[in-house]
Amino acid sequence: MFRRLPEAQGESIPFTVDGVPQLARAGDSVAAALLAAGIDHCRTTPVTGAPRGPYCMMGVCFDCLVVVDGVGNRQGCLVKVTEGMRVETQRGKREIGR
């Protein structure tokens, strides 16, 4: 669905999504890296369980919530990918311990 611009530069950053190795590019937010990797939804809603994916990409809509390195409800579009980061998709409400 999304393709990187041909002129886009930057080194590759390895990270995982639900344990599966993926490559981001330096400077990517988690949300951008998920979209670039072809992952179109990253959580389900707490009320109806409907799938949601990154939408506004600027910290407003809260639709890109994911678990980052064990912490739930992180806004994927406001967190930059770092090497070895563990991103997990989130089902419904976050858990109290993570």
Binding site: P46, V47, V71, G72, N73, G92, K93, R94, E95, I96, G97, R98
Partner: protein
């Protein structure tokens, strides 16, 4: 009964105030006798609405030190709740999510726990006290029931009668149910003045005059101003409370704690403040103190994001107990005011409303709650 109801602005009973207390009573009046015409006069959206700011507990433990009848009144109210919630659901389709699994009051030091135990003992040792079960528990007993407590919790009091609801849904369910039962809801009709003439009441509002055979003051802190217009003394004052609410999480709190509860929707509400203040303003020092205590009780709450904070004003009497009264100089005028509009909602619909419909608050239930208790001379 409906002698005054022919005119469009005339009702058998007018309830002033559309919060939880007013809506519960209006609903109860319409259910008591469907032929009675009932109207609720309410303020607009910017009303100081304790009913939208409260903590939503249906709470029994520790209430009634100094007035054992209030403890009994509260126990009775909690007991009426299941039937009330079921009735609201049947009539409106709205589930107010009543849960009464028993509740905790946590202590963070031995002194706190000892003070707690003494208070409950004093409560239950009062003459005329209708005793009920409660238990003082140590850390390990509490931990077995609520695994998420932190190491600083030394113990707790537990009462199996305590519970909570979804208070916003209760507010909506009551309004839906009362309108469904035939009550006329008149928002943006703040009562400016009330006159008693020829055995009936004339209420002035910015939208015109309303006439009533009976009038029920359920205007919260507004009752202090309205009461004297119909011969009732209602000494109430605002007392601020602040509430913090977190994002939704998976259920982790199986019981409500007096200052911490997880709603049916997963949010965690924290509320621990009692302040003498007349403005419903939120302040960082209080909010951070609330959060700090909550995190000591349940450390993992510290990882949650706060999504909102708010303040609301309780309706408080000098002794903290409710006022239910009937006017001697203006027969047909009643007042009902309390700071437990959730806990007592079923009581207001099932007990207070039928008494008002019958025209008299029976002494055996209500005499102790009259504002006359404040009139004994200071020397006595």
């Amino acid at each position: 009964m409906s002698g005054t109801s022919q005119m469009a602005n005339s009702f058998d009973v007018v309830v002033i105030g559309g919060g939880l207390v007013g809506a519960s009573i209006a609903y109860g009046l319409a259910k008591t006798d469907p032929r009675t015409t009932v109207a609720v006069l309410d303020e607009g959206d910017i009303a100081l609405r304790a009913s939208r700011g409260n903590f939503a507990l249906v709470w029994v433990q520790s209430k009634g030190v100094g007035m054992p009848e209030y403890a009994g009144w509260t126990v009775r109210g909690a007991g009426l709740w299941p039937a009330f919630a079921a009735q609201l659901k049947a009539e409106t389709g709205l589930d107010v999510c009543l849960q009464q699994p028993g509740g905790f009051h946590l202590a963070l030091s031995d002194t706190e726990l000892e003070r707690r135990a003494n208070l409950l003992q004093r409560l239950h040792n009062q003459p005329r006290m209708q005793r009920y079960d409660y238990e003082i528990m140590d850390h390990s007993r509490v931990k077995a029931m609520m695994p998420e407590i932190g190491p600083e919790v030394v113990g707790a009091s537990f009462c199996p009668l305590d519970g909570h609801v979804n208070s916003l849904r209760l507010f909506r369910a009551l309004h839906t149910a009362m309108v469904g039962a035939g009550v006329r809801y008149l928002p943006n009709h703040p009562a400016e003045s009330i006159a008693y003439e020829g055995g009936a009441f004339r209420i002035t509002t910015p939208k015109g005059e309303i006439r009533a055979g009976k009038v029920v003051l359920a205007a919260g802190n507004g009752n202090a101003r309205l009461g004297p217009m119909v011969g009732l003394d209602v000494p109430v004052r605002p007392q601020r409370g602040q509430v913090v609410v977190t994002e939704r999480t998976q259920p982790f709190l199986p019981h409500p704690v007096v200052t911490i509860r997880q709603s049916d929707e997963g949010t965690v509400m924290l509320g621990d403040s009692v302040e003498e203040a007349v403005e419903p303003k939120v302040g960082l020092p209080i909010v951070s103190a609330i959060a700090e205590r909550a995190v000591r009780m349940f450390p993992r709450i510290g990882g949650l994001n706060v999504v909102r904070t708010w303040a609301a004003l309780r309706v408080m009497t000098k002794d903290g107990f409710p006022i239910y009264d009937q006017s001697l100089s203006c027969p047909g005028a009643f007042v009902a005011t309390c700071h437990s509009g959730v806990t007592l909602a079923a009581t207001h619909a099932f007990v207070v409303a039928p008494a008002i419909a019958a025209g008299r608050l029976p002494a055996e239930d209500f005499e102790v709650f009259s504002a006359r208790r404040f009139h004994v001379s200071a020397a006595a």
